[in-house]
Amino acid sequence: MKQYLALNPKADIVNSLSKDNDKGRRWTLFEKLLIGMTPQQYLAQAIKNPFNWFLAIVFAVGFPVIIGRFIFGLEWATGGPQSNAWGLFLGFGLFGMVPLSSSGFQMGSAVEVFGRHDMEPLERLGILNGILGYLFAVIFLMVDLGQPWRLPYPMVVSWGPASVLFLVAWHVATYLSVQAAEMSTPFFEWMGWPAGRTVIKKMALGLAVAGIILSTLHQGALGALSSYAPGKVHPLWYSASFQWLYFFVSSLPGGLCMVIVVSTIVIKTMAWRCDDNFKLNLDKLHISLAKGASMGLFTYFVIRMIGIAHDNKWAYMTTGWGAWWLFEIGIGVILSMILLTVGARNKNITMIRLGAWTTILGIVLNRLNVYMITFNWKHGEIEIPPWREFMITITIYCVYIATYRFILYRWPILFRWKTQYSEYAVIETVAAKPEAGYSVK
């Protein structure tokens, strides 16, 4: 990509106006979609990227399997487990992805509610990470539901308001709309619709507070769902009183670490797309996020221990499940906490990034442990999902990555959209150069 940008100075769209035309002709949508390249150039750079080949292979195998799931039914895809009813689609796709998507409400509230404007370079990335995580959690859900076309039923056909899942359904639906509104700002800028942008900007505080409310409740609710299965989830991973708190509290460092990991991948693979504001502040912001994440992890560690002490479950520690529990806590919480804290203290960015990775792995492992690995632990054996279930999960995750990259290449997430207020005045008067105003907000 970088080489093509060097060859083609026209590329690198950062505002509404074409670079090769002083009269201020606006980019066409087609040009914006191809990031200023000709179709040939675009295709040539896409083919050269080995990651695209990886995606192509995954999609070639995975899409037929997904289609097969809807033609031949769930049993064909997942083997139809009767006792472990929730497999990888929910265990990983819903329960694993949603806590890592709490970045949306955290970055939004850091900037809008707490006035931390220094976090702005990562605000949009955090919100995008949030909305995509939720959107793909819903897509995973659609693949998993027996009758996905009935998904609106809890909203319009038949209410079961005493159910935790009812709350999850409503909150995720509402929260997706809130995030879509927040994310429409860069979309409106990119499309060149400043009126829409102005409306959303006025709602920013309200949207951020709505994000906090909905996230507190549904992140917790995903934990409360396992309170329905007291005899099935292993006691070390179960607490009737605190389960929702475990899930909510662990989602906080999960979301922050996901922002660290994603922005690290971004700076390594698409630095051309990041503006100076992003590049120069990134290390400093990673330290800030690491501080927040380490405090979150410490709190999480303490409440997990309180849970064990509260129900006096120490005896389980000496069993095989106890060793597995110590592994999850040891790598995912204690090691992560040390890496993030020491890294933030010594301004060691590599250490912080490593700690962010282990935090994410620890949280995903926790969700898999609660809903899949320790589920029905009394039955003795762990059911390994069949290959088609793995293939569908990997394919949807790859679609998620491809969508993520598509948006980051184009929308003003990693860079500021220049001249956003002045551009219309510029077109009419042709007085100022379109590049002139670097208007911030």
Partner: protein, 304 residues
């Protein structure tokens, strides 16, 4: 009657607990629990009488118009392993070896809880507990999330995964439509040659069970399984060995499963009411007298 001193002691203990843990115990919500319809019917299963003939399985298959089984109903090879209910079999009989006595057999089917976990976990309200005691299922609204299968403490609901366009939950409905609604016993009860099962008003059955235990204390374990478990079930069991030995969890909680999430659900309207003012207030405190674009270097913990 609680006297005043005990009451005060209780108050003190409660507030110390609440203060040290920070969470009010779930018993605070227990007042609203539902103990079952007064005239609900039930079945008392006496495991000491069952000989494992599987005629109940055959009767259920016939009554519910289920597909042909893989092996005929008189084939005893099925006892080699512990089976569970499936979309093709709403009831199955399992064999349990005991240390010194003859093997025991137990029939598995929906226990028709007084306050069913499947019902309370369902987000489209597909389940109904009828006043006759049956837990029935409305296939027309089921989305297929399978939360009921996760929630059921007895692992009863099965899902017909093999259907691509209309997969549904399949479980025993107490022969509600065809029999129990009209006061007749379910097919499995009626066919049993050993009178293992007694159909009647649940409250009468509890009495009858205790009577049987009292009359022959050497024969029975002194407990009716299902009288108290998860808030009580319509189907209840008498056994000559510990219930753990016949595949029933002896440590099942006595509160209905819904009580595990009542704390959380009770908190929802509070969060909805308190958070808006709380965080808008924090916003005002955090941004007062500060420029909109100031570059402040606070501690990161602010956002936790």
């Amino acid at each position: 009657m609680i006297d005043r001193r005990d009451f005060l002691k209780g108050c003190l203990a409660c507030s110390v607990t609440a203060a040290s843990i920070g969470v009010v115990g779930k018993n605070a919500f227990a007042a609203g629990s539902f103990e079952g319809y007064p005239d609900a019917m039930g079945v008392l299963v006496d495991l000491t009488r069952c000989v494992g003939c599987r005629s109940c399985e055959a009767a259920c298959n016939n009554e519910q118009k289920l597909p042909e089984p893989d092996l005929p109903f008189d084939d005893e090879s099925v006892f080699a392993e512990q089976r569970r209910t499936t979309p093709k079999a709403y009831t199955v009989v399992n064999k349990y070896e005991t240390a010194d006595k003859n093997p025991l057999f137990r029939k598995l089917q929906c226990n028709h809880c007084n306050e069913p976990a499947c019902l309370t976990s369902c987000f489209v309200n597909a389940y109904t507990k009828t006043k006759e005691g049956a837990v029935i299922y409305n296939a027309k609204v089921c989305v297929g999330c399978r939360n009921c299968m996760i929630a059921c403490p007895f692992d009863i609901p099965a899902y017909s995964y093999s259907s691509a366009i209309n997969p549904l939950i399949k479980k025993c409905i107490f022969c509600y439509d065809t029999r129990v609604k009209n006061g007749r016993p379910p097919a499995c009860v009626e066919i049993c040659p050993q009178q293992v099962m007694t159909f009647g008003r649940r409250s009468d059955l509890v009495e009858m069970g205790h009577e049987r235990i009292k009359n022959d204390p050497a024969k029975y374990v002194d407990k009716i399984y299902g009288e108290k478990e998860v808030g009580g079930t319509s189907w209840m069991y008498l056994s000559s060995v510990d219930f753990d030995k016949v595949g029933l969890d002896n440590h099942m909680q006595n509160e209905p499963i819904i009580s595990n999430v009542k704390d959380f659900l009770g908190m929802v309207p509070m969060v909805l009411s308190i958070w808006p003012a709380l965080f808008t207030g924090i916003h005002l405190l955090a941004t007062k007298n500060k420029g909109e674009h100031g570059d402040h270097d606070h501690k990161e913990g602010d956002q936790q």
